[in-house]
């Protein structure tokens, strides 16, 4: 596929990984990928296992499913059970456990819950069912929010009054700030979120360089994008630079998409505070509908419980989301908590760090864990040279090499 295969060249990937290994020296590098899409790529292609053990990738909070608190799931389920409601949401959200089941369970119990690929699909359902109240559970960062905003603008323009949005859109900068302020974690730099940056541009990340003196490289979602981003961060530090760089220029413009930003500003405003799973309440970290759209605001139209629910005690998603724990260090990883029966949100989405570990590296990690626990040591962070490394090699060999 054009624009993708060029960035999956196995030989180039190996060469770049070797260069990183050669330049890493004795320093222990900790680089956080903010975005869940990056986490998915890292595990799908075994990138962690190509890197030397002293270059550690820390998985950040950029998976919107993973950061949804249980209480907000319960709120959605309560609305779904209201009479006359058709409740719509993206697929992964249907499996996120609330305190008493998921939206899939609600569907099984008789609620009309439907999966959609776009909020525009919810708008069509509303047009086709004028006697029903169609609710869309909006979730996602700045990449997803424009589609919700456009849907509401279309609903307004077309006079469709039976579409409602339960808004859970979040923004990327506040959780990055919360992580940088956390005493738990020492990071050397960030791989910035490529597609969020498509909308917001790269300038919003300048606070990371200016205030926290950490480099940021906005990167794409192919294996070579990730490896090049890691190398660019290392180069910045070694050369004494601290900048926001754009590795993903083929997609991301420095100023983002001004039209999308204008649409977001017309429809949304910042919430005073919002709860993030694992990170707690963060001020001005989420979006809500402006007053002009109150008639479409599910939180104003329906009776939403709004009860804060604590996470299950066994679940350590919070530590995983902050990068303090590796997923396989969680007590219930791969045993009580699996993608089929998730306890924590990080195991639900394919971009959640736990699901990524489980799907692409579970067995070798489990063996590593058993071996290390048996020795009484704290588990090491990287399995370079393990069976997982062999999987990564196999995966890269399976990728067609481009002729140039």
């Amino acid at each position: 596929m054009k624009f993708a295969d060029e960035f999956r060249d196995a030989d180039l990937a190996r060469a770049l990984a070797a260069r990183i290994a050669g330049e890493a020296g004795d320093k222990h590098w900790k680089i956080m990928e903010v975005c869940g899409g990056h986490t998915h790529t890292i595990f799908k292609y075994g990138i962690e296992d190509l890197l030397p053990s002293n270059v550690e990738l820390v998985h950040g909070p950029g998976c919107p499913v993973c950061v949804i608190p249980m209480g907000r799931v319960d709120d959605g389920i309560a609305v779904a059970h209201e009479p006359g409601v058709i409740f719509t949401c993206f697929g992964d959200l249907m499996r996120v456990p609330g305190s008493d089941g998921s939206l899939l369970d609600a569907k099984a119990a008789g609620a009309d819950v439907r999966m959609v690929y776009s909020p525009l699909d919810a708008l069509k359902i509303a047009q086709q069912n004028p006697d029903k109240k169609v609710v869309f559970y909006a979730i996602g960062f700045e990449t997803t929010a424009p589609s919700t905003a456009l849907t509401l603008l279309r609903a307004k323009a077309e006079g469709i009054r039976n579409l409602f949005v339960f808004c859970n859109h979040v923004t990327i900068i506040p959780p990055m700030k919360a992580i940088l302020d956390s005493p738990d974690l020492r990071l050397d730099g960030f791989l910035g979120p490529g597609h969020v940056s498509t909308v917001v541009g790269i300038r919003p990340f300048e606070f990371v360089t200016n205030t926290y003196n950490k480099p940021v490289v906005v990167v794409g979602f192919e294996p070579l994008d990730i490896l090049q981003g890691v190398h660019m961060i290392m180069q910045q530090i070694q050369e004494g630079r601290c900048e926001v760089e754009n590795q993903y220029r083929r997609v991301v413009h420095d100023d983002g998409n001004p039209k999308a930003l204008e649409v977001l500003a017309r429809v949304f405003k910042l919430r005073s505070h919002f709860e993030w799973r694992g990170l707690g309440f963060i001020s001005q970290s989420a979006l809500e509908l402006r007053d002009e759209f109150a008639d479409h605001d599910a939180e104003k139209v329906f009776s939403v419980p709004g009860v804060r629910v604590a996470d299950p005690k066994a679940c350590q998603c919070g530590e995983v989301l902050k990068g303090v724990l590796k997923p396989w260090e969680c007590k219930v990883f791969g045993t009580a908590c699996t993608p089929e029966t998730p306890i924590g949100t990080c195991m639900v989405s394919s971009e959640g760090a736990c699901a990524a570990y489980y799907n692409f590296g579970r067995y070798s990690r489990a063996r590593d864990r058993e071996r290390v626990l048996a020795s009484g040591e704290r588990p090491a962070g990287n399995g370079n040279g393990t069976a997982n490394g062999a999987v990564a090699e196999r995966d890269l060999r399976a990728i067609p090499v481009q002729t140039r």
């Binding site: 054009k2 499913v65 990449t143 597609h195 498509t198 971009e351």
Partner: protein, 75 residues
């Protein structure tokens, strides 16, 4: 590809843009029609200037967010 996710990645997870090759444009409806990995679909184009047949649009949640730039190999 599961029933819930495209190319193993859920659309919810937001930071995934899908490439759509434009085969038709309806300016009145503000939509472009085309294919994503061979599957016919349409997306809103309110956020992109002057969409033309043959453009590659990067889309999320049924809306085009950016036009893909020509790749400069070796750049």
């Amino acid at each position: 590809m599961s029933t819930e996710c495209h190319d193993e990645v859920c659309i919810t997870c937001s930071d995934q843009l899908l490439s759509l090759i434009v085969t038709g444009v309806d300016l009145d409806a503000s939509v472009a029609r085309g294919t994503v990995d061979g599957l016919a679909t349409e997306v809103g184009i309110e956020l992109i200037d002057e969409v033309l047949v043959g453009d590659v649009l990067l889309c999320h949640g049924g809306v085009a967010l950016q036009r893909s730039a020509p790749l400069e190999v070796g750049a």
